[in-house]
Symmetry: C2
Subunit: 260 residues, 2 copies
Amino acid sequence: MRGLLIDLDGVVWEGDAAVPGAAEAVDWLQSSGLPYLFVTNTTSRPRRLIAAKLQQLGMPVTAEKILTPPVAACQWLASHSAGPLKLLVPDATREDFATITETTGDANDKVAAIVIGDIGSAWDYATLNGAFRMLMAEPAPALVALGMTRYWKAADGFRLDVAPFVKALEYAADCEAVVLGKPSADFFAIALRTIGCERGETLMIGDDISGDVSGAQKAGLKAALVRTGKFRERDLHGSVRPDAVLSSIADLPEWWAQNA
Amino acid sequence: MRGLLIDLDGVVWEGDAAVPGAAEAVDWLQSSGLPYLFVTNTTSRPRRLIAAKLQQLGMPVTAEKILTPPVAACQWLASHSAGPLKLLVPDATREDFATITETTGDANDKVAAIVIGDIGSAWDYATLNGAFRMLMAEPAPALVALGMTRYWKAADGFRLDVAPFVKALEYAADCEAVVLGKPSADFFAIALRTIGCERGETLMIGDDISGDVSGAQKAGLKAALVRTGKFRERDLHGSVRPDAVLSSIADLPEWWAQNA
């Protein structure tokens, strides 16, 4: 093995603190010369601020070493889709779409693709119906989803994330979205292309037995589970078998030396 | 055979006019003493006004002989669900829910079931998220859908109907809706119970090869296709085989005499 994809939340940091030993592991990673990329499903911040958080936590990582759904979407669009685009994405990630020519228009415009993310309370009937009408044009534009998270837990209770709206549009327009976020194989493919590695020679490291480990394995990668973040002991007793289990990312250099 | 279920739009009337011979067929039906019921997916009018339209077209049919998704929902709820209910239904059919005790409340209320229909532009994030939060309660309430129509064509273009919102909630809350409208077997079951007939002895008559004919056959009924309404010649060359094909409902008395 020679490539590494690494989840951030729960692996490199927990809340506002670095996982102990993470900075040393990242230091080892950078001096090793191995191709690597941080891969996260976050769409609540641009990757510029994700890089800033890493730097603040003592890890001098530049934005280009981070793959987020918006960044993956831009890469997918660059190679699959020519023409004006409709963006229904969180304001927080809009700067990551700076290379995109967005249609100014309404539902009667022809677009090459519609990109949808978690825009929360900005979803209303007119917005959803406008996207639907665009999808009903011929030829049908691509529907690109920034992940498939069902919901998240806010201070006042559950809140619908992007996936329910993707499902609504898929069913209404009889189409299938391109999902750019873990565990989608399209997302892992873009990560691999970014680091120039084949799937069989790349290890995904994550704290999520489903999105990280199972997703990566289904995409043909090897996957290691860390016992930090959202890890629970029962993750080891389900149907998904990680290729490795590390106490934390701090163990990565030693594990790599012995196993890769 | 001894029971009849009959679609309305495209079978008994087309637009604002009765299908020629429909009044005579209904007259025959009523004097025959056969158990029958009109079954429609309409949720844009209460069944009181549907009966009024039939009467206006010369067919003295009372409201109890008409099954609509809201009426079927009330029957399903009466036998499956005890407790306060949340109604997200078109104002036009609200009177058909007169027997229902609706919760006054917000998303933090516990409800026994949520009934959703095509409420059009009344869908917004808060409304959909409120329904989602109710569905996440334990024990989970039932999700009852007034049909599964994807969209309809308004004067200004396509408009999302109820189904996309059902799909959004099903995916978010990991549940399956009870669909009360053709082609759902649950809807046909309520129709059969209403007329006191078994499925094998009942004929569904409709103009929709999918919703009417295929739906009824999958629910175990016999089904006749009429060459009126949305009928197209190609309907006869697909995978669905009607048990009978009638020029129109006007042919029903003669067909019944020879075949039933």
